[in-house]
Symmetry: D3
Subunit: 136 residues, 6 copies
């Protein structure tokens, strides 16, 4: 099994509004260091899992939802508890939506908020049926 991993970061403000989170209930911020690991059984004709520049651009595009933002002002996240685990899953699904016609396989997203704590989500990226076309 092969993999290719790209790292980028995002500067994010948020608040974890549950009793359990103690001081993290306050509006505060984190530098998220995000690794996107694309996994494949075989390499393509260029001996790559995926083009490294394209992979980096997709990750950049997906992180644009968070980078230099306050997640509390994002209507799409209203009511969500934006833990590292949640963000790893959301980044995973964002990349899957953007790359599914070019990449199929497992994708693992790791989100680091400090040198002492990080979270990850790993799941399958599958081809999407094209809109407007039925699968009989």
């Amino acid at each position: 099994m092969y993999s290719l991993t790209i790292r980028r970061h995002a500067f994010v403000a948020h608040a974890l509004k549950r009793e359990a989170f103690g001081p993290a209930r306050n509006l505060h911020g984190v530098t998220l260091i995000v690794d996107a690991e694309f996994q494949a059984q075989e390499l393509d004709a260029n001996n790559t899992v995926m083009d490294v520049v394209r992979a980096s651009r997709i990750l950049k595009d997906v992180l644009a939802e968070f980078h230099y933002k306050n997640l509390e002002e994002n209507p799409a996240l209203a009511g969500e508890i934006t833990t590292m685990e949640f963000l790893a899953r959301r980044i995973h699904d964002g990349i899957a939506a953007r790359s599914a016609n070019r990449f199929r396989g497992r994708l693992k997203i790791t989100v680091r908020e400090s040198p002492e704590a990080w979270a990850a989500y790993e799941g399958e990226v599958t081809a999407k049926p094209r809109p407007g076309r039925k699968r009989a």
Copy 2:
């Protein structure tokens, strides 16, 4: 699959008393940088694999057996060869014993002794039957 990882360190003296270990047979010491990765299929109601503060405290409690200690003076380790692999397993089992009523799933422990070498143990944490109660 989700995971949450916590990192802490411990300052440990030990000796690896086998011919094969060369100079490591001497009493010497290492800074163990220990990562505990808790894995789960689903998130809990707080969108976490586990509470990060609790996870950090469990790891701290388990490392207390080693931190600022000489393993050669620990009767529970008498006769053991305390390699990184052995310590990873022992930390795994220590965390499992402390967290099994709150966490079930795979747990991976990585133990780093230098920037050039590390070891890991990964295994399942399962619920323990409560003492004094039979399972029919």
Copy 3:
């Protein structure tokens, strides 16, 4: 010349409200990784620049002004542009105020917001005249 350095981090939200800062004008957040380097010409009777536990506690106390906070809500920072450089200076002065009766010498604070950018402030910590006592 000797030095002792302690590292801790803080989770901070802020906004840099000047045209020049582009997207950083938005409310966003950063993990600040902060190094406090205490410098001394000579060691004390314990062969240390300063007690490592005390140094870590002082840094923790000073970072409490920022950790898990939104700097925009802090009246003491109203109107300030809270760049890394500014924060390095403020942390420096906070440590100086707390440690001046125990530590005199140069103190360098480094503040990292990402793996690609950091800032520092270095200056002298001098003894403060005790309040209520004049120096003739």
Copy 4:
């Protein structure tokens, strides 16, 4: 499952001669930071996955094909596109060839060319039939 990982580096020149690689088509160079992770279900009699000194030496021997070399001058690599993924596989197979009589299990090679991008190959190391002996 246990694992032991060894890290070494190699200084390599190469060129990726395909349209898709843009400026990487030029002859340029990279520091490859290589992690070799040996995985095993059980520990040996010394409580190790493998002897750490031997593992490091095997990795060193395999990297000698690349270290301080220009891959474009290596006949064995003529016509190959020497991406990180390709090199991870080649290092995997080189270690497998050297260690198969001592190590059997999964082996994962990670190759880092910068703090922002890395690739890996993971596969089984199996015992080789001895030359000159047929498998009926």
Copy 5:
């Protein structure tokens, strides 16, 4: 004293053609991780040593001479021994030439070729007399 540091990397091929360099006489390559530290006594009106985006762009522009290049093919470097120390100095002077009308002060360049070895050059950046204008 304040400072701001920016980190970028470059992928470089070269050969150190002197007896003393042993295997480094071969054409080989390195990932140069380059830190540019701008030092200033006072902050500007934005509470910065220098604009972080501009600093990063200047460093990128200067590294373009090396990134994805073979230094042996650069006529401007003909006959030079392109050690890390030499490259640190050259990057310093390149930044000085580009930034002297905006930045005056000390500039320190650190060049890392591996996790085990790095070099630096530190010197003053001074204003250049504009061409065609005499200083009486």
Copy 6:
């Protein structure tokens, strides 16, 4: 000003036998990550501060006093409080004694015991009068 830095590590057991050190009074151990920074005003004929292989070997030789050792059994250290600051000074002086006929200038030694704490000593390396020869 130029510098060249070499990093190596050592596995050390010791005890800090003073009330002030709390649990560090126990015999325990640390991985010391040691940086030796050689500083020079000018480069030599090879465009280096010092030969990198020689510098690494000198550091290795000096660390041999500590690597895989228990400092409490070293008669030369009897009665010493072997803090990071003390060890940085001792390593400095050891390197100075071995390199003074080849290197003159400032030498800075940094000793890291964890990702959260490190110490340094910086001082001049000067030529030693040869034994048996007077300076009039």
